[in-house]
Symmetry: C2
Subunit: 420 residues, 2 copies
Amino acid sequence: MSRLVMKFGGTSVADLFRIQNAARHVKREVEAGHQVAVVVSAMSGKTNELVGWCREASRLHDTREYDSIVASGEQVTAGLLSLALQKLGVDARSWLGWQIPILTDGAHGAARIVDINGDVLIERLEKGQVAVVAGFQGIGPDGRISTLGRGGSDTSAVAIAAAIGADRCDIYTDVDGVYTTDPRIVPGATRLDRVSFEEMLEMASLGAKVLQVRSVELAMVHGVRVFVRSSFADPDSELLVKSNTPPGTLICDEDEIVEQQVVTGIAYSRDEAQISLRDVADQPGIAASVFGPLADANINVDMIVQNVSEDGSTTDITFTVPSADYERSLEVLEAERDVIRYKNVQGSTDVVKVSVIGMGMRSHAGVAGGAFRAMADKGINIRAITTSEIKISILIDAAYTELAVRTLHSLYDLDCKQDS
Amino acid sequence: MSRLVMKFGGTSVADLFRIQNAARHVKREVEAGHQVAVVVSAMSGKTNELVGWCREASRLHDTREYDSIVASGEQVTAGLLSLALQKLGVDARSWLGWQIPILTDGAHGAARIVDINGDVLIERLEKGQVAVVAGFQGIGPDGRISTLGRGGSDTSAVAIAAAIGADRCDIYTDVDGVYTTDPRIVPGATRLDRVSFEEMLEMASLGAKVLQVRSVELAMVHGVRVFVRSSFADPDSELLVKSNTPPGTLICDEDEIVEQQVVTGIAYSRDEAQISLRDVADQPGIAASVFGPLADANINVDMIVQNVSEDGSTTDITFTVPSADYERSLEVLEAERDVIRYKNVQGSTDVVKVSVIGMGMRSHAGVAGGAFRAMADKGINIRAITTSEIKISILIDAAYTELAVRTLHSLYDLDCKQDS
């Protein structure tokens, strides 16, 4: 017997039919003898509807009211799933953030979980009752509902798993695992059986949509094994009832991964904009004068490239920002023109960041070199490069996205092998 | 300066436009120097949607989950109205039942309010902040959300008014007051300026839909003056901004009503079914043998007529039940046939109860006689009669509803007087 957290996202509880389907997944695990806590999102579309009303009521809205309004979506799903479980003969009750309580730092709209006392849940689980927890929400020091920011239900699930000492946190979603890359671009992309926390963190940061970055961070810190699997599979199929290895991807410590690949996956993100400052005076403190004001404006600068100038007088600085912050970044730079002293600024939102990720890169030389050569062979111009121990990211023209992803996917031998 | 509770029902907060309209009503009162607590219902249609989902999830649903699901409707409106007020520059915050707290007896789905500590609200009101309270909900001894039953927001509003010592509780709704009768039946029905608690209680019990019976009971017990008025009036019209006597009906202690009418209004209820037991053995204990089993089945018996039999051997017993309980009542009586010993049972759902209400009836003889004579003159057969100190109710064939109501409305001189 083990203790499980099962998390169902918005598309997995989109309507009563899907909620009943989720209930059957839960019942299967209960009948297998597991103690189960469930974490649910709002029904697909509900959060957007509630957020839309908030915007309509007041464009600059009080985030405390926003939180109370938006958290109602998960409240409804938690109740409905409890009812659906009861109808299947499974003892269950819903829990809201303030009832457990899930204590947050009270930063409304983007709160962080500070503490969860798992005792009350564990007591119920040990009596055989399923705890259905409303995700995405907690209670702040002000005694008011605070939400964790979009996608926060993944984070809730991992935090609950840590608090109750769960053996695994199953994320039920509309895909059946984590793939080597986006199957819409590379039909031969393969599902990964296991991925390390570090790799998953890079993938999530670099554009893979399966899990929220924060939930992966939390799982890594607390050593919570996360299993990404499909809620659309038949809950009562023999494969799920009898097999110990259902289809899905386990995100775990690298020690659990026996055969480490050099490259695990290829990610890409279209949410990038490139900005280049030309002929900046090359003198100490110049980087601070550029990036200080952007940081003050809460703009997250990512890839930064600065070349030493030939004659030591002026240089070019290139960096990327989230495309949503592009216009605002240009305004900030224009306002600081007299301080930074650049000749002109160029930029583009028509760029994409493609990343190669793999724990094995730490011990294998030549991975980056191969990528650059492959890009050159295909005539793809690289605008900027950044690397870390376990990833290489390149910025290229958006038009080459598919070509670059497919080329790299083949280069590192990730394409699906046909049975011979 | 005074302290006000303003309650907005479902149609008065049906969408963002109407919520913004409600906010303007609140702003007007704040600018007039009043301390204001607002109580809101769910957006029109929302509660039905949520109740529908509960039924779909499980026909015999856990009322604790039902409460948590359904209470989310008021949670959303309270937040949205707070945002709309803030946008108008009015300091406001939402309050959920568990935050105040509004303590209930925990009878989920039909809870009664046990206690409200008004201190925290009063503290905010005195600082000039508007408190927007989610109606219809509280927290039970089990620490879970409990709802007050349909229409419970009126009750919430009156209870909040009592707890904070409000000078008046304004019920904003889709009609502009309490009328002498249903204007759809009698176009000349007139709006009453003032109605006593006792009369309003009878009217609400007897079919007038303006206020919930429980809220009127609570207002009477705590002496909360309730003012029924329209939310559809222009919030900034001169009539409302400058006048001390806005259009509406004040429900208050009879001492406040200077010129007491003999008859205040005519109510009717189609939600009645008549059952007659023929040739029942006329012996002690027979009434108990009929009404005991009905009470055990939770069937609310209303008008009861039992005639003494001529020869003392058998009698007929006639009574009414809510029409929704008609079939079930017949089943109960059939099951008890051997105990009650009646010859046969007759019944009809095609009946209506018409009632004449007025405090003045206590001191005026002949009111009932006039009503019976008027019915006879129009050829309307009276099936049963019940009376109290301040009302007369008659049961008649449903086909005569409009005729009876119009006849009684004219008889007691309630028709609108044209200016001469």
